[in-house]
């Protein structure tokens, strides 16, 4: 689904973490170029 796509994975503390988004994106064929999780409180 995401072959030949670059992905920036920005996670949220209370939601889905950056590494979890990255894992899903990679499983869908993407190349993850940046991963981070942030806290918005």
């Amino acid at each position: 689904m995401l072959e030949n796509r670059y992905v920036i994975a920005l996670g949220e503390r209370d939601g889905i973490s950056g590494p979890a988004i990255a894992a899903c994106a990679e499983a869908a064929g993407a190349k993850v170029v940046f991963v981070s999780t942030e806290c918005f409180v």
Binding site: D14, G15, I16, S17, G18, P19, S36, T37, V41
Partner: protein
């Protein structure tokens, strides 16, 4: 040594606030945004609350212990008219900015703070009438009085204002070139020290505790002190012990981002149970960096700048006294590396696993205290209602375990949860703010068990992608 077989107790906990609207401009966000746009700066300064408004603000009354968070009125809390509430609460207070600046001078052992003569006189008069006046080093205010303009011209000095008024004080840097010792950094450190000291002094006074009887102090605030060779090296706890007159104590800081207070309580209880120390204080000061953090959302929604207070907290842990609530060391929940990072996995690890270990269900816990950030502060900036999210996750897990039916989720959240009421200084919100209320309810018999759950965003330091957390169960003393 029979008492060592029993888990330690938390004898008392106190919380204070310092209303510091003038310092709000030095919060990390305002300090970056205000210099970029004079119009924003003017709107910010025009939206600061008066002391009476800050005292009347219901979440502040809940924080200092005057009302239980479940007794908070319906929102909006910002509509509460000033004049009905007192700055004083059992064991706590809301301190006005002028007094607080005097308190800063009182705990400024490096002599870096300069107060203008008029401010020094006002602060001295007010602090002299304070119930804890005999514990303050009021002589330091006279020594701190001087030429504020000249002090502010120093390298990396930090100007200090009272509210939106003119500069009336200044904090010099601790070193001309050390970025860890600039005036702005030291103001954060000094403010944390002062708020923690104030909370500890209230606790000692309220409980009539001999300061020399405290063996050890554990600091768990978000602030880190140090110099360029050891940023965050610590130790704020011993500085607080010194300022509060704990002549026989030493101390250390526990760092775990917002989660630190619960590990600090667990370490304190473990030291007591192991017989290393008899009486340990846990203290936390306020986080100046987080003042005004969400001011843009507040101004956009025509609200005042709501992050204008610094919190301070203190708790006392000692061996079983037969009356105070027990800290169950066999029910400590921790967020393991392998536990996973989703909200349900974290809650499972922190809340459910300890209950399984004890053979209890979620309905055996009367009060769950999670991250109790005030939603009136977080929602306008798009951060949502943090405690509500936590309680829904918790209730869903309770339903999945069969402790409650799906129909009971709402009542579970309402009766065992509570509205967020803490300033957005994560270590205070992350459960610690409920400790005085938990002790009250466990001592009175209104509750049998409380669980306090803390979470911390380790990933912010870029050394791990993980978060962390820890939970404790407090239980009514069985004797």
């Amino acid at each position: 040594m029979a008492e060592l077989k029993k888990d330690p107790v938390v004898v008392a906990a106190t919380q204070v606030l310092a209303h510091v609207p003038g310092m709000a401009r030095h919060g990390s966000k305002p300090s970056r945004e205000l210099p970029r746009d004079p119009a924003v700066e003017a709107e910010f300064l025009g939206s600061l609350r008066s002391f009476d408004e800050a005292v009347a603000y219901p979440p502040h009354q809940a924080f200092v212990g005057a009302i239980h968070p479940r007794a908070l009125p319906a929102r909006p809390w910002t509509d509460t008219p000033p004049g009905q509430a007192s700055r004083w609460a059992p064991g706590g207070e809301v301190m006005p900015e002028e007094e607080f600046l005097g308190l800063l001078a009182s705990v400024d052992t490096a002599g870096l703070l300069t107060l203008g003569a008029d401010l020094a006189e006002r602060a001295l008069g007010a602090l002299g009438d304070h119930p804890l006046a005999k514990h303050f080093a009021l002589g330091q205010l006279e020594r701190a009085t001087g030429d504020v303009e000249a002090a502010a011209d120093g390298v990396a000095a930090c100007p200090i204002h009272v509210g939106a008024g003119p500069m009336e004080a200044s904090l010099r840097a601790g070193d001309d070139v050390d970025q860890s010792l600039t005036g702005a950094v030291l103001l954060e450190n000094l403010a944390a020290k002062a708020t923690a000291t104030l909370a500890l002094l209230h606790l000692l006074d309220k409980e009539q505790i001999d300061p020399a009887s405290v063996d050890y102090v554990i600091g768990c605030g978000e602030e880190a002190v140090g110099d360029r060779y050891q940023r965050g090296g610590g130790n704020l706890a011993k500085a607080v012990a010194e300022a509060a007159g704990l002549s026989e104590a030493s101390g250390m800081d526990v760092k775990d981002f917002c989660a630190a207070p619960i590990p600090a309580l667990v370490v304190a209880a473990s030291l007591v149970k192991a017989g290393v120390f008899r009486r340990v204080a846990v203290v936390a000061g306020g986080s100046l960096a987080k003042l005004g953090m969400k001011f843009q959302g507040h101004l956009r929604n025509r609200l005042p700048v709501l992050e204008d207070v610094l919190g301070g907290a203190a708790a006392l842990v000692e061996g079983d006294d037969g009356a105070s609530p027990t800290l169950r060391l066999d029910a400590v929940g921790r967020h393991r590396v392998a536990a996973g990072g989703s909200a349900p996995q974290i809650m499972e690890s922190l809340a459910m696993e300890p209950l399984v270990r004890l053979g209890l269900t979620t309905t055996d816990i009367d009060d769950f205290a999670t991250e109790l950030h005030n939603p009136e502060i977080t929602e306008p900036q798009g951060s949502g209602n943090v405690p509500e999210r936590n309680y829904k996750t918790l209730a869903a897990l309770a339903a999945r375990r069969g402790d409650i039916s799906r129909d009971e989720i709402a009542s579970f959240v309402e009766s065992r949860g509570m509205p967020g009421f803490a300033p957005t200084q994560g270590h205070l919100a992350s459960g610690l703010c409920y400790l005085p209320h938990a002790l009250d309810r466990l001592k009175s018999g209104d509750a049998t068990r409380s669980m306090i759950i803390a979470k911390g965003s380790l990933f912010l330091g870029r050394m791990s992608q993980l978060s962390d957390g820890m939970s404790v169960v407090l239980e009514r003393n069985r004797q």
